[in-house]
């Protein structure tokens, strides 16, 4: 069947979005698959429709559409927009090919899960947010010739976005500021300067597979938007990077212990007053960690060896009737003092202060 043309503005009478969408639907039911629409800001053109003969492609050539061009677009749908579009182009794209020759507004490709979106200009803020990839369907692609607005690719879970940074030399960042917040998956290829990304992601160099993908993809993209003359300019891959979710290991921050050792005041801030090696005593530790230290009185000792036999740490030994408690074994429990029949062992409080 021939192309079905729709003029949505006749003698100052504008067709409403509902009228237009219902007209398209009626014509699809009649078997039309090719539409040319001169729009007047009507929304949702090209979305959630399919040719009754599923082997055929449903095509839309659109001028001057409203928001959400191709929203909920399906596999087998192709939409070409001559000129620019407002917000939400390709929202929830589930398989359509959407080509915009000019710029596209905010939240372009929002939640796109399959299909391809090709934008021949800039896209607005929050574009590519929540893109995802269901492995049973073709991976979504989102191509942008110039740059995106701020906070793009938030919560991105999958898919591929390509931001070519064409004519963006004046910007500090071709992804605006604060992009990629909450991003957990997917890949963004970007050409040119990028700043102020969320800490969720890292900027990586391309590998061979990436270059192969971009090389073939750029050709296809530029053909679609009618800018194939830019191919050479955009294929200097030294200008490209890719952005992916930061690997767990990199996300980790410097341990505070390392900060103390490397950046903090050397010797500690109390170094003028005290010497502290920052070693940590275990609870019920030996040596200086003891709260109480046993002292032996030769005059009182009768050499019964009860202390030697009962010391839980085996810290006490006698040498020529002189009894010793080994500091590196004794925990200061006081069992020797408790059991000594003559109180030859006494526990003395270890009140030593931390000092120089």
């Amino acid at each position: 069947m021939e192309r079905f043309k729709i003029e949505t503005l006749k003698n100052e009478n504008r067709m409403s979005t509902q009228e237009l969408l219902q007209l398209i639907q009626a014509k699809i039911d009649e078997g039309y698959t090719d539409f040319e629409i001169n729009g007047c800001g009507q929304h949702n053109i090209g979305g959630s429709s399919w040719a009754r003969d599923r082997s055929k492609t449903l095509s839309f050539l659109v001028r001057n559409p409203g928001q959400r061009v191709g929203a909920m677009g399906m596999k087998g749908t192709r939409i070409i927009v001559e000129g620019s579009v407002p917000a939400d182009t390709g929202w929830l794209n589930s398989g359509a090919e959407i080509i915009v020759k000019g710029d596209s507004g905010d939240t372009t490709a929002h939640c796109a899960a399959s299909g391809e979106i090709y934008i021949g200009g800039r896209v607005g803020t929050r574009s590519g947010a929540l893109m995802k990839h269901d492995p049973r369907f073709k991976i979504p692609e989102f191509w942008v010739l110039k740059n995106t607005g701020s906070y793009s690719f938030e919560f991105m879970g999958g898919g591929i976005a390509i931001v070519c940074g064409y004519e963006c030399e004046e910007f500090d960042s071709v992804l605006g500021k604060g992009s990629c917040g909450g991003m957990v998956g997917g890949t963004i290829f970007v050409r040119g300067k990028v700043e102020n990304l969320s800490h969720c992601v890292e900027i990586l160099n391309l590998d061979e597979k990436d270059i192969e993908f971009l090389h073939s993809g750029l050709k296809r993209f530029l053909d679609k938007i009618g800018r194939s003359e830019l191919f050479n300019k955009l294929t200097d891959f030294s200008e490209w990077h890719k952005i992916q979710t930061r690997a767990e290991a990199v996300k980790k921050r410097m341990p505070v212990a390392e900060f103390r050792q490397k950046e903090w005041i050397s010797g500690g801030i109390f170094g003028d007053f005290i010497t502290d090696d920052y070693a940590v005593y275990e609870l019920a530790g030996t040596g200086d960690a003891r709260c109480r230290i046993p002292q032996w009185d030769k005059k009182l000792c009768i050499g019964c060896d009860i202390c030697v036999k009962n010391c839980p740490q085996n810290a006490i030994f006698s040498d020529e009737k002189v009894y010793h408690s080994e500091d590196n074994k004794c925990i200061g429990c006081g069992i020797c003092a408790a059991l000594c029949p003559r109180q030859a062992w006494k526990m003395v409080e270890n009140n030593r202060e931390i000092t120089k």
């Binding site: 212990a257 019920a284 839980p312 202060e353």
Partner: protein, 542 residues
């Protein structure tokens, strides 16, 4: 066996009783070794050997763990013995029938002193009865903490109203005719005011390290109040001084070193805090008992080993006007009017009068008003003060804020609130609610000790900070105890806690739809308590 008489201290008089299971004990000695209070000791007990009544009794000796009974060495329930026992053979159990407080006073003729917070908590917490009830649902979008940029900062320093900024128009130029008072944008949480001496060197340094780390590695511009126990010279000379709010209290401890070091400072301090009073012991001065006044504490404070009792007021200050003249002017002048100077008072019925007076300060040198509520903590205080004096923070903060609102002058002297924050687990919620009620920020000290491993609580567990025997090494100057504390772990935990709190603050700001601090946004709060609703002027909801 020694004779037992009624008028002695007995085990049953003590607040905690040691429960000991001889059958599980392997006599490893760890429990008695770990007890920093000397509350338990190994001892020999006699056991009857024969059950035959026709024979003369015979006994055998056996080794047990025994609870000591004494005013200086009794169990405070810290639980360290249970922590180290390999077999669960020992633990401290609360004695609800104890007579210790009476016995102590009767025996010693002294008031009872301890650390911690108020242990009575008879009123319940107002903050827990307030909910954040104004949630953005279609009226405006909620913000998402992950993707939105939040500006969690608050001014510290005098803010001038537009007409006082001193701008004049000269032809096409705007001229600033007067210098503006110093003002810093800081994180709305301040690590509060625990002095060197009150806490151990490791604990104090851990807080300082965490402060520096949060600023330099996490981008969280938190500040630390030094307390008044001196500041190490190496810190004064370092670039980290810019994160420190130097405190001057009535003891003026350590200020000679601060003054002496001025020519060598490479940074200005973050601020000066004149401490008039504190929530835990309002109307009372600082208290540091002699057993904690170790050699370096003596040196840094310039005092001998003695009980250090700071006077209840700054000597020589008799009125608010005088305090503005003398303290604020001098402290401003000390750093050539580059550093904000704030004041900290215990919450009181008189707080609003003080705040109003400061608002009228004609020199614009009052840079902040810190109000410390009843439930604040301390290293040492008379228990009578801790449990019975002071004013809850919530209504007093609110009163001060509304007093300023009625004059159209809110925010001119930033309000900071503290005292018992985080007591029931959620510090971020407490902070957020106080901010909605009008606080520019909050401060906390006691919570930091709990983060660092304090085993005490607000129902009479441990609270032995004043004794110098802190089993966790937080408030002790004894080497064997201080070195139990892992400075890196403590600093890491403090950092983690603030990072978590930061996320939780965003989780509260987001639903309210605020990307900046909702200071005074009391419309965000509701309460199911009619009296709280009326008193705080917030929505009553049932």
């Amino acid at each position: 066996m020694a004779a037992v008489k009624v008028n002695e201290l007995h085990k049953e008089d003590l607040p905690w009783i040691i429960e000991y299971d001889e059958s599980k004990c392997i006599q490893c000695g760890k429990c008695t070794a770990v007890c920093s209070f000397g509350a338990i000791s190994p001892a020999v007990e006699m056991r009857k050997k024969s059950g035959n009544i026709n024979e003369k009794n015979t006994y055998e000796k056996t080794l047990v763990i025994k609870q000591n009974v004494g005013f200086e060495n009794h169990c405070v329930g810290c639980g360290m013995c249970a922590n180290v026992c390999p077999n669960g053979a020992i633990k401290a159990v609360r004695n609800f029938d104890d007579r210790y407080a009476i016995r102590y006073r009767a025996e010693k003729g002294e008031s009872l002193k301890r650390g911690g917070r108020s242990n009575l908590n008879t009123e319940g917490r107002t903050l827990d009865k307030i909910k954040i009830g104004r949630i953005s649902q279609m009226t405006d979008p909620s913000l998402d903490p992950v993707r939105h940029t939040f500006e969690i900062k608050t001014p510290f320093g005098r803010v001038l109203s537009a007409d006082k900024l001193g701008f004049e128009v000269d032809g096409n130029k705007i001229m600033q005719t007067k210098p503006l008072p110093p003002n810093r944008w800081i994180y709305p949480i301040i690590f509060g005011d625990m002095s060197i001496g009150a806490i151990s060197s490791r604990m104090w340094e851990a807080i300082a390290i965490a402060t520096a780390y949060l600023n330099e590695k996490m981008g969280i511009p938190i500040r630390m109040g030094t307390g008044e126990g001196g500041v190490p010279v190496s810190l004064l000379k370092s670039r980290y001084l810019k994160y420190m709010i130097l405190q001057i209290a009535s003891g003026h401890f350590g200020w000679n070193r601060i003054v002496e070091t001025m020519p060598e400072m490479i940074e200005d301090p973050a601020g000066i805090l004149i401490k008039i009073g504190q929530g835990a012991k309002p109307g009372d001065g600082g208290l540091l008992l002699a057993n904690k006044v170790s050699k370096y504490v003596q040196e840094i404070r310039g005092v001998p080993k003695a009980d250090l009792m700071s006077p209840p007021t700054h000597q020589g200050l008799y009125s608010i006007e005088e305090s503005v003249q003398k303290m604020f002017l001098s402290m401003n002048a000390a750093f050539n009017f580059r550093v904000p100077v704030a004041i900290k008072v215990a919450a009181s019925v008189t707080s609003v009068a003080v705040y109003n007076n400061l608002l009228r300060d004609p020199y614009n040198i009052v840079g902040g008003f810190f109000i410390d509520g009843f439930a604040g903590g301390t290293g040492a205080a008379h228990e009578i003060s801790l449990n019975h004096t002071g004013h809850p923070i919530t209504s007093k903060l609110r009163d001060c804020y509304l007093a300023a609102v009625h004059q159209g002058r809110q925010g001119e002297i930033p309000l900071f609130a503290g005292g018992g924050l985080g007591q029931t687990g959620s510090f971020a919620a407490d902070a957020f609610k106080l901010i909605c009620l009008g606080a520019n920020g909050v401060f906390t000290g006691r919570l930091l000790l709990q983060i660092a491993g304090c085993c005490g609580n607000d129902t009479e567990k441990c609270n032995a900070c004043s004794t110098g025997n802190c089993p966790a090494g937080l408030t002790s100057q004894r080497e064997c105890l201080t070195k139990r504390l892992d400075i890196d772990k403590v600093a890491e935990n403090l950092v983690n806690f603030i990072v978590a709190t930061d996320m939780e603050l965003k989780k509260l700001m987001g639903p309210v739809g605020c990307s900046t601090l909702p200071i005074g946004r009391s419309d965000a709060l509701i309460t199911v308590d009619k009296h709280i609703a009326r008193r705080l002027d917030i929505q009553y909801s049932i």
